[in-house]
Symmetry: C2
Amino acid sequence: MEDTTTRPAGSVLIAEDLRAVVALLVRRIRANPAFPPHQFGVLRTIDRIGPQTASQLAVLELVRPQSMAHTLQQLDEAGYISRHAHPTDGRQTLIALSDDGRIALDQQRREITGWLAAAIEENLTADERDTLADAVTLLSRIVEA
Amino acid sequence: MEDTTTRPAGSVLIAEDLRAVVALLVRRIRANPAFPPHQFGVLRTIDRIGPQTASQLAVLELVRPQSMAHTLQQLDEAGYISRHAHPTDGRQTLIALSDDGRIALDQQRREITGWLAAAIEENLTADERDTLADAVTLLSRIVEA
DNA sequence: TATTGTTATACTCTATAACTATA
DNA sequence: TATAGTTATAGAGTATAACAATA
């Protein structure tokens, strides 16, 4: 009966608790009125760093190129992205946000993230929000490792 | 061009960054040799708090009862759980870990969480690990809110 | 031959709807 | 009627394998 109240903060125990809470967090996020979270993430990435090839997006989002092709097809059908031929390399296609994509992204920024932002605002103190913000930075480092 | 280096740590910005890093973290976790993460989570929950009904597990894992039924069927086919009739209520079925389930859980505890624990150990200082452990507690509070 | 991208197929996870059995 | 549980079906997300087009 391993107890979590007296844990020595060892990496293994942090890892297991982090896995568990992240799984629950993903479900809470997905349960909210939303359009598909991964599609949102791709739009967000294009908005953040500009038009990208499918391969580059796959690397950035940590998925296989085939998986990204599937997501891009869905975004294309929804009219949220536009594809542009690469000026010199005929194999590559640059993916950009369409006007509708930008509108959708801005709307989702307000609506989707709403529940999570409100939960942070209402359940954490200012100091705790700082701790969470710091942890997000630490998690980014771990993900990129 | 919203800049993240000078962010005022507002809840909305924390929420969006948290969403993004959590999505990447899930993919990093899933990319590692593993058996299905949610199945692992269910075994872990039963181990932590003892045999439960399917409905109770659905509440704890934040999924619908039908989704839990599906996961339990997979765990049953794998031989990782056993089902026991409720002593007084014929509608209920208590779900317990089988011997194979315990073996699988212990093995996955070592193997699956391995990458994440190593990444935490290698990429964070002791203080940063404390920050992350604190953040996990804060996230638990948010998820349960 | 190597790279970029796509299509085909399958599996995990989750949902809603509809059903059965028991209280 | 209400509750516990299951089955049927569908969609998001991801993977591997196989293929086409371009460099």
